[in-house]
């Protein structure tokens, strides 16, 4: 994989710096969560996207506010990129009433409907048909919005993937499918679980375009997503993008990672860190300096500390809300 240094023309320098900051926010958010889980401070489980920041941030960067996304169990990055506040997210993980789901959803169910995030999903592949439905609304009501649908390599073996892709294809819906291929579905290596070289090759089964992209290159992510989103917005139908990436951490809170080597992990960490790569490009393009970068990183870290503080100081949900929200 080579770094794609073509900086997308559709975004301003300011936006690029903001994206750099966003990637740090995502990383620090998840590293903090990792720490809390390790300490047993958080209940339940979580799936961290450390190392995958560019695919979330890059893809969502090219959306308009009215556009929508569906996310996955590994959804903190998508959520932050679509505009969610780290403090309400952190509060949700702490099970607080100030959290996005009033403490009822937790990591796997954060949604931010107002911002167009139709929700993380605890069911692998569960969000894919939902994205198709969201795209259907856009088409039927002529709302012009596009829905970005995230899922993993493992999810591409679920029946829901197949049914949804076909439906979106034949109805020419404004949806862009983004498969974040982080090489593993839990312990199942994509090499073992799929017999084609690229998940994007599956687009051929639906008569839609497929594209493989270096998911750790935020610029490449922006470029390919932009193209696909505009295509969808023009009414030319869906695209399947496969972002090759890697999760640095284990699958969920307890994972001995026996199914892969430490060398492989180190290779991705040391040589393909999406944040480091963006930083190098922004510096070499003269968009900011090494010092600026360090300052931004520190700001992002502070934002997460604030989020933790917000979460810790937030009240627990009163027991009365247990039976609320079942029905509208």
């Amino acid at each position: 994989m080579v770094i794609n240094v073509s900086v997308p023309s559709m975004v301003t320098e300011k936006k690029l710096v903001e994206l750099f900051r966003q990637m740090w926010v995502i990383r620090f958010f998840d590293e903090k969560v990792d720490e809390f889980f390790a300490k047993g401070m958080i209940h339940g489980t979580t799936h961290l996207c450390v190392g995958q920041e560019a695919s979330a941030a890059g893809a969502i960067a090219v959306l308009e506010d009215r556009d929508k996304i569906t996310s996955t169990h590994r959804g903190h990055g998508h959520c932050i990129a679509k505009g969610a506040e780290a403090n309400r997210m952190m509060a949700e993980l702490f099970g607080r009433v100030t959290g996005y789901c009033r403490g009822k959803g937790g990591s796997m169910h954060i949604a931010d409907v107002e911002k167009g995030n139709l929700g993380a999903n605890g069911i692998v592949g569960g969000g894919i048909p939902i994205a198709v439905g969201s795209a259907l609304t856009s088409q039927m009501k002529q709302l012009g919005y596009v829905t970005l649908c995230f899922f993993g390599d493992g999810a591409s073996n679920e029946g829901s993937f197949h049914e949804a892709m076909n439906m979106a294809a034949i109805w020419n819906l404004p949806v862009v499918f983004i498969c974040e291929n982080n090489q593993y579905g839990m312990s199942g290596s994509v090499k073992e679980m799929v017999k084609v070289a690229n998940i994007a090759d599956r687009a051929a089964a639906y008569g839609i375009p497929g594209a493989v992209v270096d998911g750790n290159d935020i610029f490449a992510m922006m470029n390919v997503t932009h193209e696909s989103v505009e295509r969808a917005r023009r009414g030319e139908g869906p695209t399947l993008i496969e972002a090759k990436t890697y999760r640095w951490k284990g699958h969920s809170k307890s994972d001995a990672k026996k199914y892969r080597t430490r060398e492989e992990e180190m290779d991705w960490r040391n040589n393909r860190d999406p944040i480091e790569r963006m930083k190098r490009v922004l510096i070499s393009e003269g968009i900011f300096s090494e010092q600026d970068a360090a300052r931004i990183e520190a700001e992002a870290r502070a934002e997460i500390e604030d989020a933790v503080k917000f979460a810790e100081e937030s009240p627990m949900p009163p027991i009365e809300i247990l039976e609320e929200d079942v029905y509208a």
Binding site: G126, G133, M167
Partner: protein, 329 residues
């Protein structure tokens, strides 16, 4: 005279959908073969001609995607009606209905809503055998977040379907195949019946029968026979399982002191157990002069042969016998 206007159950369902689709652009229907084919049972016949293929939307044979697309459309402002060709096929759409539609709003802490109606024919009697004849409403009634409706008459079907379409929650609407051709009085104008209100289909004093869907009709026939023998039967049709109007049932049982619960679904684990238990837990318990009786399908897949098929579920004679056992205890 408009009071005499009769429609079949099937026509009532169609009329309701058409009326709603005329007044609300957000309402549309999607499902397999609902276009020119008119649906497997002909319910949507003629609708594509009026509403076009965008709003009467033929889908591929992809039940998970159909249900899921409906969830996504509902979350973003549409009010989809899904026609699931046979209720048995909910087994392919289960995740979307049970894990997504039913739970979204709760998981999201009260944000968003999923106003979708899943209409689907259930029940046996057509010779379609084990994979096309099930009555699995108890499954859906077990899931918080869903509402479950089982109309037994054309009148109820029209009014309850409107309520379902107007409801902001996912509603599972079971239509019984053998009721499609039954006729009844149905006003032409649009009307809504409350979800959660049982209907007393026949008033009586000696025994209460709580019956759902086609069993309402079998109970009504049984009641005529029983009346000849001097037994006065009250028949309650819950019409909606979730929410369930237990009050009306309890009131009736307090009056009669005897109750038979009957449904077509397999007795073991059927919703009759819920109804019977609620009665037993209620103040009606102290009024009971006989144990609560349940009738339901035998614990077998529905067989093909028509004689066996009939024997697999309660029939009029079974109801008569159960009532007598309850009354002459």
């Amino acid at each position: 005279m408009s009071a005499q206007r009769e429609l079949t159950y099937l026509e009532a369902v169609r009329e309701c959908m058409s009326q709603e689709m005329r007044v609300n652009q957000d309402v549309f229907i999607m499902g397999e073969d609902i276009g020119v084919y008119g649906g497997a049972f002909g319910v949507t016949r003629g609708m594509i001609e009026e509403f076009g293929k965008e709003r009467v939307r033929n889908t591929p044979i992809s039940e998970a995607a159909i249900a899921g697309a409906a969830v996504g459309a509902a979350m973003t402002g549409m009010r989809p009606i899904v026609e699931l060709q046979f209720s048995d096929f909910i087994t392919i759409a289960t995740d979307q209905i049970v894990n997504q539609a039913a739970k979204n709003r709760y998981m999201f802490g009260g944000k968003g809503k999923v106003p979708l109606v899943l209409r689907t024919p259930s029940g046996s009697g057509t010779g379609a055998a084990a994979q096309h004849s099930q009555s699995l409403e108890a499954w859906m009634a077990h899931i918080p977040g869903l509402k479950v409706i089982q109309p037994s008459t054309a009148y109820d079907a029209k009014g309850l379907l409107k309520a379902a379409i107007d409801d902001d929650n996912p509603v599972i609407f079971y239509e019984h195949k053998l009721l499609y051709r039954t006729k009844g009085h149905v006003p032409e104008e649009s009307y809504s019946l409350p979800i959660g209100k049982a209907d007393i289909k026949r008033a009586g004093t000696d025994v209460t029968i709580v019956a759902t869907a086609i069993m309402v009709h079998k109970a009504l026939q049984a009641a005529v026979e029983l009346e000849k023998e001097g037994i006065s039967v009250e028949i309650i049709d819950p019409r909606t399982l979730v929410p369930l109007d237990i009050e009306t049932i309890v009131e009736s049982v307090k009056k009669t002191g005897r109750v038979v619960v009957v449904h077509e679904a397999v007795k073991r684990g059927g919703f009759g157990g819920e109804i019977a238990s609620l009665i037993a837990e209620s103040e009606a318990f102290d009024y009971l002069d006989a144990p609560i009786k349940r009738l339901g399908g035998k614990a077998v897949p529905i067989p093909y042969n028509p004689v066996l098929e009939k024997a697999a579920i309660p029939q009029e004679q079974d109801i008569i016998q159960a009532v007598k056992e309850t009354v002459f205890r």
